[in-house]
């Protein structure tokens, strides 16, 4: 693992803590990565002049030029397929897929080439590329703009998959993903783009492929990632008011997963609820449940419960509040676990 990008100038202003949104933090992280390595290029639909539909790449083309920030033709397979060739050539492409539901035209290139070329070439070809995907629901969007397709990619050997949940992690994780010599799917919780955090660019980040305990508790464990992290923290705060202390773990790395802190937590609490927006069947939540029962069988005092989206296509947005796990559904699951 390469050393995380640290603040280069060393000036006092740079190391001061500042309040930034998750989206701005990604923008700052991308900028830092591009400054640190001239081989880093950003490519995608509308990422240049417009700065991306969520403005994550705002200002980058102006400062780094059209050959490092590419407004691409409108074809997702083309974005990923050409990024593969650019990576073979020695570039470090950071591709933006505009919305989760638009990644599927690129699915073939991701699964057939991105995931397999390193293995196929016995390591002679490296593909240090990042595929950024704004994902998840909760923004009142039309169809194909609210999906959680992460398990498809976690299921595919050869890919690494991460998801940031907050502004501070966003800054570090995007840089770490870009410096990673394996291809990384980077899932961004789009409904949390405007959540703020206190960013200290002089700090030392955790390793990319590590989960983190965000809140300690003894009654039950909540494991989650991406947009559901905030939901779980709010649930834990509400439970605490009633005297129930929940432990909240942000998975961060979805493939490979760092479940050691989860096992330790479950051995302490005996209760586990996994929370994710993705549909339940064959999901990451299911994978976590399987592994925890395997590792912590005698510590569990109740079955692992999953609070997820339903096994339906993503519904019209007027119904999404029922589809998405919320505080009440999380706490209901906690109650069921504790009352088992």
């Amino acid at each position: 693992m390469a050393t995380p990008v640290m603040n280069q100038a060393g000036d006092e202003a740079a190391s001061a803590t500042r309040t930034v949104t998750l989206g701005k933090s990604l923008n700052l992280g991308l900028r830092a990565a591009m400054e640190a390595d001239p081989k880093v290029i950003v490519m995608g639909e509308d990422v240049g002049k417009l700065g991306g539909v969520f403005r994550i790449t705002d200002g980058l083309q102006k400062d780094f030029g059209e050959q490092r920030v590419l407004d691409t033709p409108l074809a997702e397979s083309g974005i990923i397929g050409t990024a593969v060739g650019l990576a073979i050539r020695g570039f470090r492409p950071v591709c933006e897929i505009q919305f989760d539901g638009f990644i599927f035209p690129a699915f073939d290139q991701i699964v057939s080439q991105v995931a397999k070329l390193h293995f196929r070439s016995q390591g002679r070809i490296r593909l240090p590329m990042v595929i950024r995907v704004p994902f998840g629901g909760g923004i009142g969007a039309v169809e194909h703009h609210s999906e959680s397709p992460e398990s498809y990619f976690a299921h595919t050997a050869g890919l690494k998959v991460v998801s940031c949940s907050n502004a501070v992690d966003a800054y570090w994780m995007i840089q770490q993903a870009i410096r990673c010599d394996d291809p990384v799917l980077f899932f961004e919780p789009k409904r949390r783009y405007y959540e703020k955090g206190e960013l200290d660019v002089g700090a030392t980040p955790d390793p990319l492929f590590s989960s983190r305990v965000l809140r300690t508790g003894t009654a039950a464990t909540l494991v989650t990632y991406g947009p559901s992290v905030k939901t779980c923290l709010e649930s834990a705060a509400a439970a605490a008011e009633e005297g129930t202390e929940l432990e909240v773990i942000d998975l961060r790395a979805l493939s490979p997963m760092d479940l050691t802190p989860v096992y330790e937590s479950v051995r302490k609490t005996g209760h586990l609820v996994v929370v994710s927006e993705a549909p339940e069947e064959a999901s990451l939540a299911s994978e976590i449940a399987a592994r925890v029962q395997q590792e912590c069988f005698y510590s569990l005092e109740a079955p692992v419960l999953r609070v997820t989206g339903f096994d339906t296509p993503y519904p019209p947005s007027k119904l999404e509040e029922h589809f998405l796990p919320d505080l009440d559904r999380v706490l209901d699951a906690v109650d069921r676990s504790l009352g088992w």
């Binding site: 050409t82 650019l86 073979i88 050539r89 290139q109 293995f119 070439s121 390591g123 050869g158």
Partner: protein, 401 residues
Amino acid sequence: MSSPEQWTHPEPGVGPAATAAAPTAEQVIAGLRATSEGGPELVQLLTPEGERVPDSRWDPYVADITAEDLRGLYRDMVLTRRIDREANALQRQGQLGIWVPLLGQEAAQIGAGRALKPQDMAFPSYREHGVAWCKGVHPTELLGIFRGTDHGTWDPIAKRFHLYTIVIGNQVLNAAGYAMGQRFEGKVGDDDGEATMVFFGDGATSQGDVHEGFVWASVYDAPLVFFCQNNQWAISEPTERQSRQPLYQRARGYGFPGVRVDGNDVLASLAVSRWALDECRHGNGPVLIEAYTYRMDAHTTTDDPSRYRLADELEAWKLKDPIERVRVNLVRHEHADKEFFDSVQADADQLAAELREFCVNMPDPPRDRMFSQVYEEGSDALAAQRDAYLTYAASFEGGEH
């Protein structure tokens, strides 16, 4: 009833547009004839009878080809065919799981392959054994893919020959990206410039990735030569099932030149490929070449062409054999004697023997190989899975299981 031309060659502005998606029986027959003829725009420098045809546009690109060079091209084709036949036999004898024959496509591939300069990159599909030969990939290095021991053992970066790509059309986008990189790095613009050539078949031209590759290469002015070997058949489907119009004419719609070359004519393939690569290395890419050829054998060793095509068609194409016309030309001009042909045959036989010897002695890969190089930076979870399996597998050793 519409004429055959209305279906097979719907030239804009020349006669009515195609009137039906499916051809009539007469049109099929006419189409087959048109197929084997190649049309009036076919670039040909060496006729099937071995006669050198002057061509003011293309001659300059092969003006430097001496008799010795032509003998070299002949030797390349004979050796490539011998490798192909030996590997086909190895499959029949159970030494390979499958083989993908290139029989009949030697001239297209050797012409293109010999046009590539050392700095040029090539992206093959899975039938480019002749291009591999030109790029210095030894035929033994191709075997593992088809024996099931590996997915390709050559170094694609050092050889400038990418690994075989089996998913139809994927490599066209990968090549477009690579060529974009050549341009971004300022490696195009003069005689020493770099170019990329990507190989695919007539069937692949229906793939979205190929169309997207055309778009990307054109809007980024990528130094990319699209080398389409139209061997008339995508397994069982004729080219007419992929396109209403000749494939090389598609380039026009994307804004770059397209040329149809006689893919059974190694000189023409060399000339057109050199021109196209020159255009690209000077910054005038991309270019599409449709090498008009014929798959003389099956799609793969699992295929049975007798179910979908007439033996007559094969017989007609045998008369256009890519190797025979060069041999006739060499003999006619007394540029080669019996000693030469015998020595080439001896070299071919020796190479085939080496290939066989290598193939039958290939060891199976160690069982832990499947866990290696999945990731550049590793994965603890995968390492744990590997260790658990190896421990389990070791428990059988020395036992009676």
